[in-house]
Every structure is written in C-alpha cells, then in structure tokens.
C-alpha cells in the first residue's frame, strides 16, 4: 500500500486534527513566551539598561539583571522539559493511535 493512501487516511482521522491543533497551540504558546521574554529582555538592555543594574534589595550587590537572567535560564529549560514531557507521552500516544487506525482501515 502506498504511503500516500496512508497519509490520506490519517488526515481524515479526527484524531489527527486533534493532535495538530493541540500540539500546535501548545508549541506556539511556549515559543511565544520564550520569544517575548527574550526580546523583551534585549529591548530592556538596549533602551533601559539602568533598570537591570539596580540592586535586588537594599545593600545587596546582586542586581535585578542577574536575577532575571538566571531565572530565564532556568525557566526556559523548564519549558523545554514541560514540552518534551507532554509531547513524548500524550502527543506520541495520540500519534501511535492515528497510525494504528490507518493500518487497521487498510486491512
């Protein structure tokens, strides 16, 4: 059986639409968060550097900028973990179902 026929059948499966919609929304939401934070940060560096240079608390040597960056390193990585976790379980299971359904139909 040609893969084109398989693709046709998968596309017709409502689960495929569900997978695409869910995963797409999830991935783009996370990407949007990262892009907004990163370019927001770059803009702050360019237009308002002083705000990043303030100390986090009275008398501390640690600046707001250091804390924000450390937070971004950790937060972005946590977002990748969140995505991998959901994609490798929920989305992959759905994908397997779609492929199985298409196989069954072809028999």
């Amino acid at each position: 059986m040609s893969s084109s026929a398989m693709y046709e059948r998968m596309r017709a499966n409502p689960k495929f639409q569900e997978l695409v919609a869910k995963r797409g929304r999830f991935a783009w939401t996370l990407a949007f968060i990262v892009l907004t934070m990163f370019y927001g940060f770059v803009m702050t560096v360019a237009f308002s550097p002083a705000s990043l240079g303030q100390p986090v608390s009275e008398g501390s040597r640690v600046t707001v900028g250091v804390v924000i960056e450390l937070f971004m390193f950790i937060f972005f990585w946590v977002l990748t973990a969140v995505y991998v976790r959901r994609a490798n379980t929920e989305f992959d299971a759905l994908t397997q179902e779609i492929i199985r359904d298409a196989w069954k139909e072809s028999k």
């Binding site: 893969s3 084109s4 398989m6 693709y7 998968m10 596309r11 495929f16 997978l19 695409v20 995963r23 991935a27 783009w28 996370l30 990407a31 990262v34 892009l35 990163f38 370019y39 940060f41 770059v42 803009m43 560096v45 360019a46 237009f47 550097p49 002083a50 990043l52 240079g53 501390s60 040597r61 640690v62 600046t63 900028g65 250091v66 960056e69 450390l70 971004m72 390193f73 950790i74 972005f76 990585w77 977002l79 990748t80 973990a81 995505y83 991998v84 994609a87 490798n88 992959d92 994908t95 779609i98 492929i99 298409a102």
Partner: protein
C-alpha cells in the same frame, strides 16, 4: 563604532564554534609562542589515543551511507544531547566567554543568554519535524516536495559557504590557541588538527564524530565545573561575597553587574539576537545531529539534555569569570612584566587557563588546555562531516547521479570530500594566519540565518512555498547576507582598507532575513506554473508525515 567593534569581536570569539581568537580587542598584537606545556600534551595524547580507539571501533560499524552520515540513526537522546552540547560549546565558549565576564562583567552574561535562547525555539518549532522529514542533510527537508536538483544545489552551496567560513575561523583560532597553550608551531598545529579531523571523519563517520563530541563535552563539563568549584570555594560559595569583592577591585566598580556599552545600540542588539537565535537553527552541522536519533521522541530529548548542559555550563563560566577577576586579576604572576592590570600573559583569552593554573596548578591547566584542543577537534569534525555530506549526498548522489548512485560510491565520494575539505581547511588556515578573521563567523551565522533558516522553516510550515520561491528566497538571503557583511566595517574597512563602511551595522540578520522571507513569499505567490501547483498539493502528505513521523527513516529501516 567602538561598540560594534566590540560586538563583532565578541561574537566571533564566542559564537558556538567560532574560534576567532585573533579578533578580540584583548588579543591585539602578535601572539607569543609559549613554552612547551608537557602536562597538556600528555593529556591530549591520552584523548587522541582514546578517540582513535573509538574511531577504529566505529570504522567496523560504518558500512552503509546511513551509518556514515547519521550513525545509523541509533544514537540515544541523552548521547545526542551531549554531542550537540559538544558541537555547540567550543573552546571559544570556554575561553572567550570567561574572558568577557572577566573584562565586561554582566555583558558577558547577556551574550550567554543570546546563545542559549535559540534552543527552546528549535525544540518547540523544529526538532520533531526535522527528525520526521529529514534523513541525512537538512536539504532532504527543503527538497522534499520541491525540485530536487535546483533546491539541493542551493542548499549545498549555502551549507558549504557556512562550513568553509566556519572552518577557517576554527583553524586559524586553533593554530593560535595551540601555539599559546601547547607551545607548538602554528603550522604544526594546523596540520595536526586537519589530519586528525580527516582520520576521525573518513574512517569513523558520524559514529566516531559523535563519540569525539560526547567525550569532549564530558571533559569540558567536568573541567569547567572543577575549576569553578575550586575557585568559588575561596569565597565560601557566597555569591554576594564574591560580587562584593569583585566590584571593589574591578575597574567597572558598581557597574560590574549592569548592562554596559556592548549592546547599547538597539538595531545591533536585535540583529545580533536574531542572528544567533536563527543562525543556530540554520547551521548544517547542528541540524544534521537531529538525524542521528531513532525518532522524534529522542530528538526532543536531545534538545532537553543539550540545552540543560549548555545552560548549566554558561552559568559555570559566569562564576569562573567573576572569580577570575579576583584570583587572576590580582596576581602579578599572570601579567606581563608582573604588572597587575596591564596585559595578561598570552592575551585576554587566557583568563580561564590562568584561573585553572591558579586554583589547580599545572595538572589542571594541562587538563583544561587538552580540553580546549579536544573541543576544536570535535567542532571541526562535525563541520567537515556536514560539508562532506552536502557534497556527496546532495550534489553527487541527488543532483549529479539523480538518486542512482550506489551506497558504496556515495560513501567513497563523501570520504574523498572529507579529505578535500581537510586539505582546504589546512591551506586556508595557513593562508589566513595573519588575516583579520573576525567577520567569518558573523558571515557564517548570517548566511545560516538568512539563507538556510527561512527556506527550511517555510518548507516545513508554509504550504504555498514553491521551487521558484525557495530559490529566490535562499539565494537572495545568501547574497544579501554576504553583501551586508562585505560592506560592513569588519570587511570593507578592516580588511579592504576603505575609509568608511557602506553598511552601518555589523550584524546582517535583521536586514537579510526579511529579504529572504519576502522574496520566498512573493516569488511563490506569483508562481502560476503547473509544477508549482503540484508542489503545493504535495504539502498535504508532507504535513502528515511531519506531524506523525509515519514513513520517516528510522534505525529499524536497515
């Protein structure tokens, strides 16, 4: 233009694998050859022996084209994560970024963020589609439903340009670094790097290259962590204490942890951010790593591990740089003529090495020097393999032979291509010894971001892309990226000796990327040919495969 000058120099120093050591402001003047460093040489010999053993073992497992290009697709997500980290973090990362934090404080930390932020985006938008659609090279994806011959030729040209400029930057940097660290002649160092690279890649293919990168990543992570730990312990592991002391002694004083002059110009800042983020997503040797894993699941895991290692290591480097301000910056032993605050022995990029010596003696210095050399080898091997596959898989097997070449012939061509690339790298490395190579990494990233990335992302996401659109988009991105760099200060003034640059910015991405996207869009939209219609229709099947991975090449396929 001082700012942009710094940015360019810094970019070339820090960029993933851009070892343009010669370029930094801290490296002005001739690099002095150092006394032969036996600790470093012994440790490096151990590394080479080990990797040669692996290459020998890998050679017996490298039979098919799939083994050669992608290690048979059998690398696990964790291994690939380490290998990607090994590919991405070069000696320039270790040396250049430590030096930057040492000299500029917080600005160095900002740079690290720019290098890191591309990884989540690659995961969310690209990793699984790359794995599901690609096989050996990223042009498998761009040419999936378009004209094989024309699109692959274009992708191969831009890949080779990226690879060649990267290789030059690597080789020249390597020669100077090795002269510095090991006390070897420049030309000896160039030949050593070129020949070792040829051996790894021609005999061991992707299996050997991957393991060289994995071992190197482990050495880099372990070495960096150890130096950081020993150095930070001198301050009782108190960040507050460390900052307090560093600020009291650094010339920047209280401003040490504030953004400085490096990214003060918004256009340059944004252009740099775009170039680094999307350039990473268009580098052929990085993209190729996604085809070495079994499936999309492992591809996603690769990014998770890789970005974790990269983020961790950047923070280690940040601490190393800050500790060095006090440990290296106050020790007359590390300054020429013993004058604290004057020129560091070996130049500004030696900060990390001096720090290793200060906290761990000659043994640790030797180890870190060996790590730096290993790092260069791993990066050039990855580059050579990516370049060779563009020649053998795209140009030879698909464009010239139109898919009729036997696997044996294709592997033979890729081995010959590797040897040729190695020879070219050696020759160019020697030719460019005294040249200002700062622009080359910027050019490589610019071409990757403006020529490779737009066509790749459009081919995966936009149904309407046609062959005509892809060609116009890719070539216009390529030409404009090259033109913007040539007309910028770093080539037009610094290399060609003209009075003023024709293009005022050093970073091409903000300008070249929109040109590529716009051309691809307009030329696809106005393409009314029958062929274009068939290409648009073919998107549906490609889309299902991209989403589900059904029909994707996997480890089980051979």
């Amino acid at each position: 233009m001082r700012t942009s000058n710094y940015i360019f120099a810094a970019l070339s120093l820090l960029t993933a694998s851009g070892l343009a050591v010669a370029a930094g402001p801290a490296m002005e003047g001739e690099i002095q050859q150092q006394a032969t460093n036996w600790h470093a040489i012994i440790m490096f010999v151990i590394f080479v022996t080990m990797t040669m053993g692996i290459t020998y073992w890998a050679a017996s497992r490298t039979k098919s084209t799939s083994d050669f290009y992608t290690a048979g697709g059998g690398i696990t997500g964790f291994q690939n994560g380490l290998a990607i980290a090994g590919d991405y973090m070069s000696a320039a990362t270790l040396l250049g970024l430590t030096a930057m934090v040492y000299g500029k404080g917080y600005d160095g930390y900002i740079y690290m963020m720019a290098f890191f932020a591309g990884w989540p985006i690659i995961l969310f938008l690209m990793a699984e589609r790359l794995r599901n659609l690609g096989r050996f090279t990223f042009s498998d994806i761009t040419a999936y439903r378009l004209d094989q011959g024309k699109v692959r030729t274009m992708a191969a040209i831009s890949s080779l340009i990226v690879v060649c400029f990267y290789l030059i930057a690597q080789m020249v940097g390597a020669g100077q670094l090795i002269k510095l660290l090991f006390g070897l002649e420049y030309n000896v160092a160039i030949f050593a790097v070129g020949i070792l690279m040829m051996v790894y890649v021609t005999f061991g293919g992707m299996v050997a290259t991957t393991w060289v990168q994995i071992i190197k990543a482990c050495m880099l992570l372990a070495g960096g962590t150890l130096v950081m730990f020993l150095a930070f312990s001198q301050f009782g592991f108190s960040f507050e204490n460390l900052l307090d002391k560093a600020m009291s002694m650094h010339t920047l004083g209280d401003k040490l942890m504030s953004p400085g002059a490096l990214l003060a110009d918004p256009v340059t800042a944004i252009s740099l951010g775009l170039g680094l983020m999307f350039g990473t997503a268009g580098l052929p040797h990085i993209l190729m790593r996604f085809f070495t894993v079994t499936d999309a699941k492992e591809a996603r895991k690769s990014v998770l591990y890789a970005s974790g290692f990269v983020a961790y290591f950047f923070n280690v480097i940040f601490l190393m740089g800050l500790c060095a301000i006090l440990i290296v910056g106050q020790n007359p032993e590390f300054f020429e003529g013993g004058e604290v605050g004057k020129k560091l022995i070996g130049g500004g990029n030696m900060v990390a090495m001096h720090l290793a010596k200060a906290v761990g003696g000659d043994m640790l210095l030797g180890f870190l020097a060996a790590v730096a050399f290993a790092t260069i080898l791993a990066v050039v091997s990855g580059l050579a393999l990516a370049g060779a596959s563009a020649i053998s898989h795209d140009l030879y097997a698909r464009v010239i032979k139109k898919g009729t070449a036997s696997e044996a012939a294709e592997i033979r061509v890729s081995k010959i291509a590797t040897i040729c690339l190695g020879a070219v790298a050696i020759v160019l490395g020697i030719l460019f010894e005294k040249q200002n190579i700062a622009f080359m990494v910027g050019l490589a990233f610019g071409v990757a971001a403006a020529a490779n990335f737009p066509v790749l992302i459009l081919s995966m996401y936009w149904k309407g892309l046609t062959t005509r659109g892809a060609l116009f988009g890719g070539y216009s991105g390529l030409i404009s990226a090259v033109a913007f760099v040539v007309f910028s200060k770093s080539v037009w003034v610094d290399v060609l000796g003209n009075a003023a640059p024709l293009f005022p910015y050093t970073q091409p991405a903000l300008f070249a990327m929109p040109i590529a996207f716009l051309m691809a869009f307009i030329m696809s939209k106005t393409d009314g040919s029958v062929r274009a219609k068939a290409e648009i229709d073919a998107f549906e099947d490609q889309y299902v495969r991209a989403q589900t991975g059904y029909g994707a090449s996997g480890a089980a396929s051979h």
